[in-house]
């Protein structure tokens, strides 16, 4: 994925570029609005990361100019201006997302992945276990035709359980895939997540799919079908 980063803070640009490159993205940078617009016009970028406070102009104007030129690359605003009115204005102008500085790199990467998935469209598969359906492209999960809203963590958990459906996954195995290695200590966060997930996918539906195997771990009943 090719990303253009427009920001006048040179140090931030350097480190962000490095971080994004580590995550496997091709990143070009522009330190001014004019350079940024020029690069955007010829560069064919799939995502533009845009700062709001630029020398001599604002990110909002850059966004307007981009749209006026017919450049429809998704734009994500990164800004230290974090009052509600700025967020609203940015989103109204057609930005796909607004991230407040200082942000966590992990959060930025997650949001970039969301943009990426939306662009990837139906290239990704649809998984099915019984009447439980997970669309990897749109991240939609539904059961018996009913859409289920999952948090990112619950989605990740379900993804792991579906990938290994029919087999028992220990708590340690699950946490290692979804969180860090030692996440099963210090809190009952993992249990609560499993509990929440079970509530969402099993409550109100006929056959419970998510099983607890006492002393061993968790299992999703059924076999995985991939379309």
């Amino acid at each position: 994925m090719k990303i253009l980063l427009i920001d006048d803070e040179e140090k931030l640009v350097v480190h962000l570029q490095k971080g994004l490159r580590q995550a496997g993205y091709a990143v070009d940078t522009a330190l001014s609005a004019a350079t940024g617009l020029e690069m955007a016009a010829v560069g064919d970028y799939e995502l533009i990361l845009l700062d709001l406070m630029l020398p001599g102009t604002t990110g909002f104007d850059v966004l307007r100019t981009l749209r006026a030129f017919g450049l429809n690359a998704p734009v994500m605003i990164l800004s230290a201006l974090n009052q509600s009115k700025h967020v609203v204005e940015g989103l109204d102008l057609g930005a796909v997302d607004y991230l407040r500085k200082p942000f966590e790199l992990e959060e930025l990467l997650a949001r970039i992945r969301t943009v990426q998935r939306n662009q990837a469209g139906s290239k990704l598969a649809v998984w099915r276990v019984g009447d439980l359906v997970m669309d990897l492209a749109t991240r939609n999960v539904s059961r018996a035709g009913q859409t289920i809203a999952l948090t990112p963590r619950e989605y990740q958990l379900l993804e792991q359980l579906m990938r290994q459906s029919g087999r028992v996954l220990s708590k340690a195995q699950l946490t290692e895939k979804v969180w860090e290695t030692d996440f099963d200590r210090g809190s009952n966060v993992v249990e609560v997540h499993i509990h929440q997930l079970r509530k969402k996918i099993d409550r109100g539906f006929g056959v419970p799919l998510l099983e607890t195997v006492v002393g061993v771990g968790y299992r999703l009943k059924g076999a995985l079908e991939i379309n």
Partner: protein
């Protein structure tokens, strides 16, 4: 602020002064009138009596002795004097004994009788015939008494009416002042500064209203300046903070050395705290200026809590705590209506405090419950550190106390922000444990 005690109000004082002045003036005038009237009445009475005495005296004859009869209610005494010789000719049975026969005055008053004396030379041209005629002065006394009562009554009534009139009239005059007081009282936040109504009266009240409006405008502009400063400063602070954070996060992904990684993690934790402090400062200035904007949306409190709790995994493990989360299973939804960013900051603040002040190795209880139309988020931690007086949080403005730096500001902001979002925030501390509780009205989606 309470109103003014009625007895101390300007209206009351004006009424009192009016009534007092009126009383003084009127009572002097009334006393003068009374004395004059009394004088006139007595003189008239005496004149009538004297005329009667003359007539009776003229009808009196010594040879042959003719004594005229007085009318009912009159008393008469007649005597004849010639040189040293004096003879009482007649005296009515109830003629007062105390009458001084040798008196020179023509008119004598007693408690019961008004007496006049008339002397003339009898027909024989020798000696003097003295006639003393009297009648009861009770009617006169009664008349004077009723005039006195009338005057006193009028005096009291007019004092009362002048006082009341002054009170009512000054109330009318001061009505703009009351309006000024009422609108000045409603000015609580710089945000809500609205000019107070200026009476169109070209007097001191108009001047007062104008002066107050000028002052309000200055307050407003000072608050604006302060708020703009905080907004600009927090923006300026965020830029280097975001550079630092990105730099550390990128570096963290590169290093493999455990010691360096721990160092960077610790730096990142402090950086997060610093970022939140910057947010807190801005939030505080916005709260003071009343310019805090909320972007309300429906939020799944359970999902948000779980997401935020994960951030404390590192610090929880470091202090060997255990975070026990309990979510209400029976609730249809744990959705609340709030501003996501502000609520996130509040919850992070509370989690931060709980982890920071928890006794090492203890248990943190985080519970989200639904019931009675509200959703309650409660976090309890065990602590050895004395907790500041929870009552301070509910004060209108937080009084900075450097000894309790960690707790105070964050909790005060949380309290204010939660209140603005329509929720309730309470903290309580009992022997060794600290509890923070947020309660929102349950939000029905769809």
């Amino acid at each position: 602020m309470a109103g003014i005690w009625p007895v101390r109000s300007i209206r009351f004082k004006i009424g009192l002064v009016f009534a007092g002045t009126f009383f003084l003036g009127f009572s002097l005038a009334a006393a003068y009138v009374y004395v004059q009237v009394k004088d006139v009445l007595i003189r008239q009475e005496n004149r009538i009596l004297t005329e009667r005495a003359i007539r009776l005296s003229e009808r009196t004859s010594l040879y042959p002795l003719v004594i005229p009869l007085p009318e009912q209610g009159e008393v008469i005494a007649l005597w004849y004097t010639a040189g040293r010789f004096r003879k009482k000719i007649y005296q009515s049975p109830n003629f007062p004994d105390y009458y001084p026969i040798r008196s020179d005055s023509v008119v004598t008053q007693s408690d019961t009788f008004q007496l006049v004396r008339y002397e003339r030379t009898p027909e024989n041209g020798y000696g003097r015939l003295t006639t003393v005629l009297g009648h009861s002065n009770r009617p006169l006394v009664r008349q004077l008494q009723s005039i006195g009562w009338l005057l006193t009554g009028i005096l009291l009534l007019s004092v009362l009416f002048s006082g009341l009139g002054a009170w009512v009239f000054s109330g009318l005059l001061l009505r703009p002042l009351k309006a000024i007081i009422d609108s000045a009282r409603s000015v609580n936040l710089a945000e809500e500064v609205t000019p107070i109504p200026t009476p169109d009266s070209d007097d001191e009240l108009q001047e007062l209203a104008r002066t107050i409006n000028d002052m309000l405008a200055r307050i407003r502009s000072a608050a604006d300046t302060q708020h703009n400063f905080f907004a600009a400063a927090s923006h300026e602070l965020r830029t280097p903070l975001s550079i630092l954070r990105t730099e550390i996060e990128v570096a963290q992904r590169e290093v493999t050395n455990e010691r360096e990684r721990r160092f960077l993690t610790s730096q990142l934790t402090e950086l997060r705290r610093l970022s939140r402090l910057v947010d807190d400062l801005l939030a505080m200035s916005q709260l003071h200026a009343g310019t805090l904007q909320l972007r309300m949306e429906s939020i799944e409190l359970d999902d948000l809590t779980l997401r935020l709790a994960e951030r404390y995994h590192g610090s929880i493990n470091q202090k060997q705590l255990f975070l026990a989360i309990a979510l209400d299973d029976d609730a249809a939804s744990l959705t609340v209506w709030a501003d996501l960013d502000k609520l996130t900051n509040v919850l992070l603040n509370l989690l931060d405090n709980a982890v920071k002040y928890a006794r090492a190795g203890s248990r943190l209880e985080l519970r989200i419950m639904a019931g009675n139309g509200s959703i309650t988020w409660r976090l309890v931690n065990q602590t050895d550190i004395p907790v500041p007086d929870p009552g301070r949080l509910t004060g209108s403005f937080y009084q900075a106390d450097s000894r309790h730096d960690g707790y105070g500001l964050g909790l005060w902001i949380s309290h204010q922000v939660v209140r603005l979002m329509g929720g309730e925030f309470t903290v309580s501390a009992v022997s060794g444990s600290f509890q923070a509780e947020i309660s929102f009205p349950a939000h029905i989606t769809e």
